[in-house]
Amino acid sequence: MLERDAFMDVLALTWKVQRGAVRRVGSAASRGLRLLGVSTRADTVELVNQVAGLQREVRALRRELETR
């Protein structure tokens, strides 16, 4: 049953619709919260990604130092 094409098609579509809906609701909520001056999940994620980018730069620099 699990590996039937129709079942997998419905499951994938459900997943995509659900994920899309959550994103749209989250995005709308973020816009509203920003108007009120409140930080949102999107802001946190952006900050996390910035820190992660810095960590990657530090790693790259460390490797460059090691190879010199």
Partner: protein, 368 residues
């Protein structure tokens, strides 16, 4: 002897209450060890031993999709402990759960960078010239890619345990991606990782009835402290997933699943190609007949794809976890693997024996 029915119910009530209150936590990964090297998320552990009889250390590389304590589950039920007690110098290359900084890690990060560095660190710490490289599950893919692209590395023997090769045989989880129903971006989150919850859902989807079966198994084991500890250790591990780096996940979907590159023997890597036929070291491919995560038909082709003249296939009568933990592992799986490694660690003559071998689950039958 099992206690009487009434006593068993009382023990179930006691243990069930403790379990429901979260007071029973199996104490896993207890074999004494020391951290000897670290880099980014990689951690290289060396297991303490008073009696190391074999010169070639074993470097176990753990998968990126789960936690490594399955290899050192409980005292008396541990792959690591068994190999150590067989006189091997055992190292474990473990991975800290990937964080956002690791989201851009690719297969090359592991196969062409961290694993070679860990091999060098193992040789340095053990004072050895070569290692026996063992990859468990997805790490088997990584060590094969390492061995296929890096002839210069001091790898004496190569062992893969339940390693997927033919991704068309992996069933539901890969079919969702194989035929384009889902794309990697559908499951990668805003930090660039595949969340642990999605990894867990993917594995649970392989056997959707498993959760109900496990409740029954829990009831059956609840009266015995020892059985309950083993049951919880294995089942907690099965649900204890870790995030997966998004870049490596995209490669897994595009190259390994959609192009089925492992099965062709040529995997695009680092701007070039990793050709499995370039692997000339003695090779042991271990897989399990009852494995639902990496079914035997998925793992079996590997032996025919490597270029080693000494390639051995060992098909065991167990499941994915039963290969490394449990009674069958203790009686058949672990001794057979240790026996092959022992024979191939002895001297150069045995390590280059000619001919391919096939073995079907009897202990020690995988001799090279």
């Amino acid at each position: 002897m099992a206690p009487s029915l009434i006593k068993r119910q009382l023990l179930r009530a006691r243990n069930g209450t403790a379990y429901a209150a979260g007071l029973i936590r199996p104490d896993v990964a207890r074999t004494p060890r020391d951290l000897v090297w670290r880099r980014e998320t990689a951690r290289l552990w060396r297991y303490r031993s008073e009696e190391r009889r074999h010169r070639t250390p074993i470097l176990l590389v753990h998968s990126l999709v789960s936690k490594s304590y399955i290899l050192d589950l409980l005292p008396g039920n541990s792959m690591v402990e068994f190999l150590r007690d067989e006189g091997f110098d055992v190292f474990l290359l473990d991975w800290e759960p990937a964080g956002p900084a690791d989201a851009e890690n690719t297969l090359e990060t592991y196969a062409d960078d961290l694993i070679p560095l860990a091999i060098a660190a193992t040789c340095a710490d053990a004072g050895a010239e070569e290692v026996t490289l063992v990859g468990y599950c997805y790490a088997g893919v990584l060590v094969l890619l390492t061995a296929a692209t890096r002839d210069d590395l001091p790898i004496r023997n190569l062992v893969t345990l339940t390693t997927p090769c033919d991704y068309r045989e992996l069933g539901f989880m890969t079919k969702m991606f194989l035929e384009g129903r889902l794309d990697p971006e559908d499951v990668i989150d805003d930090t660039g990782l595949v969340p642990a919850a999605i990894m867990d859902a993917g594995f649970q989807s392989i056997k959707p009835t498993d959760q109900a079966v496990q409740q029954w198994n829990l009831w059956q084991n609840l009266w015995s402290d020892r059985r309950l500890e083993s049951y919880l250790a294995v089942n907690n591990w099965a649900r204890d997933q870790v995030p997966f780096p998004g870049a490596a996940f995209r490669q897994t979907i595009d190259v390994l699943i959609r192009d089925n590159a492992m099965c062709t023997g040529v995997v695009p890597l680092n701007g070039g190609e990793a050709e499995l036929r370039r692997i000339r070291r003695p090779y042991l491919n271990v897989f399990c007949k009852d494995d639902t995560i990496v079914p035997a038909p998925s793992a079996a082709p590997l032996e025919g794809l490597v270029g080693s003249r000494d390639a051995t296939e060992l098909c065991l009568e167990s499941g994915h976890i039963g290969l490394v933990a449990g009674r069958y592992a203790a009686e058949v799986g672990r001794p057979a693997i240790a026996d092959w490694i022992r024979r191939h660690s002895a001297n150069r003559k045995t390590a280059t024996a000619k001919g391919r071998k096939r073995a079907r689950h009897p202990a020690g039958a995988a001799a090279g």
